[in-house]
């Protein structure tokens, strides 16, 4: 464990992201997340939280800076033939859950989950199905195995999406506002799955407005404003005794 502590799972160095010519969304962000750690990123909408998360698996190309996931290093703007492969390698090691779930509507639940292992990792279909069923059981949706996503509730869809990500056996899970599109009564079932995931030692970076998750599950909480951190710390410190005035304002606003 100590050894892992010295080697961060995710290391982001001085990331900038500029959209178009002058929309400077991220302004030199640094972040280190250790193995097994759960980090929650909070911040007002438009502050750059999602963009940062999407820079980690290169759904968004950072304009400057360095991203390192599980010892794979990629610099922004670097010209190297091998770069595309390293990006794919990072994506294979990171799972991502989206606000809009983004399940594949033309595949049923099981097909959604085995798609990654079979197509990307080249696993045998039977083996993939076996593991997919374990995961379905784990997220409590074994009975929906053969349903199509359109027949599931939002909460069920998001749990399938989590299972789909986990099927790749990722080292890190990225959650991009996983409960924001859900009806209030469905939020709990998704948060409960995320909690169990954290307890089982998954490295998690979550952008979420679920304060309960931030307070009870996160090891560290980061507050973003205008493209950089304004505060970080343990949940106790952030929620009980924040240093920054803006943090206080933000928390007062969403609490």
């Amino acid at each position: 464990m100590m050894e892992n502590k010295s080697q961060p799972m995710v290391k982001i160095n001085n990331i900038h992201k500029v959209f178009g010519r002058d929309l400077h969304v991220l302004r030199g962000v640094d972040l280190e997340v250790h193995k097994g750690e759960t980090v929650v990123i909070l911040g007002a909408s438009g502050s750059g939280k999602s963009t940062l998360l999407r820079c980690i698996n290169f759904l968004e190309e950072p304009s400057a800076g360095t991203v390192e996931v599980d010892n794979i290093v990629i610099h922004a703007g670097e010209k190297d033939k091998d770069r595309e492969n390293r990006i794919l390698d990072i994506r294979k090691r990171t799972g991502m859950c989206f606000q809009a779930f983004n399940l594949f509507p033309h595949m049923n639940v099981l097909e959604n989950i085995i798609e990654g292992p079979v197509t990307v990792l080249g696993h045998e279909k039977q083996k993939a199905i076996h593991y997919a069923e374990e995961l379905l059981d784990w997220v409590g949706l074994m009975d929906k195995r053969d349903e199509y996503p359109s027949r599931l509730s939002g909460g069920q869809q998001q749990r399938v999406a989590i299972a789909r990500s986990l099927a790749m056996k990722p080292k890190v899970m990225l959650f991009d506002e996983p409960t924001s599109a859900l009806d209030p009564e469905l939020v709990g079932e998704v948060v409960e799955v995320m909690e169990r995931l954290a307890k089982e030692g998954m490295t998690i970076i979550a952008v979420t407005h679920e304060l309960h998750f931030a307070r009870d599950v996160a090891d560290r909480v980061f507050i973003m404003d205008e493209g950089n951190w304004i505060e970080e710390g343990t949940p106790e410190k952030i929620f009980n005794n924040p240093d920054n005035v803006r943090t206080r304002q933000f928390l007062a606003h969403i609490l």
Binding site: L59, K92, T94, G116, S150
Partner: protein
């Protein structure tokens, strides 16, 4: 699905609600029945018109096998041209969406040029003008190319139709691909899929569903446009009908007959379209 939960015998549904439900159901049934009756009346009207016009049915029956024999050409030309058009449409759509400047500009010019010129001109281009191009090239030292460029009527017709419809369908396929939400691409990317895998496994299967109705439209149009190969002397359906009709001064009979044959072919195509659409819709709510 919905009416299962509203079963009439269900306790708790008040009688007045049941009356409303019953009325909705009888209205539906009546509508269905009336549609069928209307169709039958239309058909009877059509047949009576034909009889009133004094059509020579024995003449029609006599020439039916000869005309039908031409449908083999129609079918051959249309199906090969459709296959060619599908391939060109997919390649063309990928080109139109490509960030490779050469690939993109070739695809864009292809669509623009072909859509901007009459099919009739294109048919003659393949049949009559291509040999001349071959001749010019032969003059530059490409020995034997003229023979290669001199196409018989059928291949020329298939190429003309396939290339032309490929251009129209390129735009259909491109629109279909672009109609798939960006989140699907992102989910595929996040799993570590390459561009090709994303296209093949995620985007294209979903786009296919969107483009099947417009592509079926193109197919139906193509079956009828295949009659253009008669310009090059191929004895396909309409050519035979027109020839026979003119020779015996009974064009009406022949034209009506050939129209009905085309119609039947298109109905068949539409039947398959509906089958495929139903199969594709399996991920939808309520099926």
């Amino acid at each position: 699905m919905a009416d299962k939960s509203l079963r009439h015998g269900d306790a708790g549904i008040p009688p007045e609600a049941q009356a409303v439900l019953r009325k909705i159901e009888t209205d539906k049934a009546r509508y269905k029945r009336n549609v069928i009756i209307s169709f039958i009346i239309l058909a009877v009207l059509m047949v009576t018109t034909l009889i009133v016009l004094g059509l020579d049915f024995t003449f029609m029956l006599k020439w039916l096998p000869f005309i039908l024999a031409g449908s083999g050409y129609t079918f051959l030309v249309a199906s090969l041209a459709i296959a060619l058009a599908c391939i060109l449409a997919v390649v063309g759509a990928l080109g139109r969406l490509s960030r490779n400047p050469v690939f993109n500009s070739i695809a864009t010019s292809y669509v623009s040029l072909i859509r901007g010129t009459p099919l009739l001109v294109q048919v003659y281009m393949w049949y009559l003008a291509l040999p001349q191009i071959g001749k010019a090239l032969e003059g530059y030292g490409f020995v034997g190319i003229q023979a290669l460029f001199t196409l018989p009527a059928l291949p020329a017709g298939i190429l003309a139709l396939g290339v032309c419809y490929g251009a129209y369908m390129t735009e259909t396929v491109r629109a279909g691909i672009q109609s798939i939400k960006i989140g699907q691409t992102e989910a595929a990317k996040a799993l570590g899929m390459t561009r090709t895998q994303t296209m093949k496994r995620v985007i294209f299967p979903q786009a296919l569903r969107v483009i099947i109705p417009p592509v079926s439209n193109e197919f139906i149009a193509m079956i009828k446009d295949s009659s253009l190969v008669s310009l090059m002397g191929v004895w396909e359906l309409s050519y035979r009908a027109i020839k026979v009709g003119r020779r015996h001064f009974q064009s009406l009979e022949m034209l009506i007959m050939v129209a009905l044959i085309y119609w039947a072919m298109c109905i068949l195509l539409q039947y398959f379209q509906e089958k495929i659409e139903k199969h594709m819709a399996r991920g939808d709510r309520g099926i």
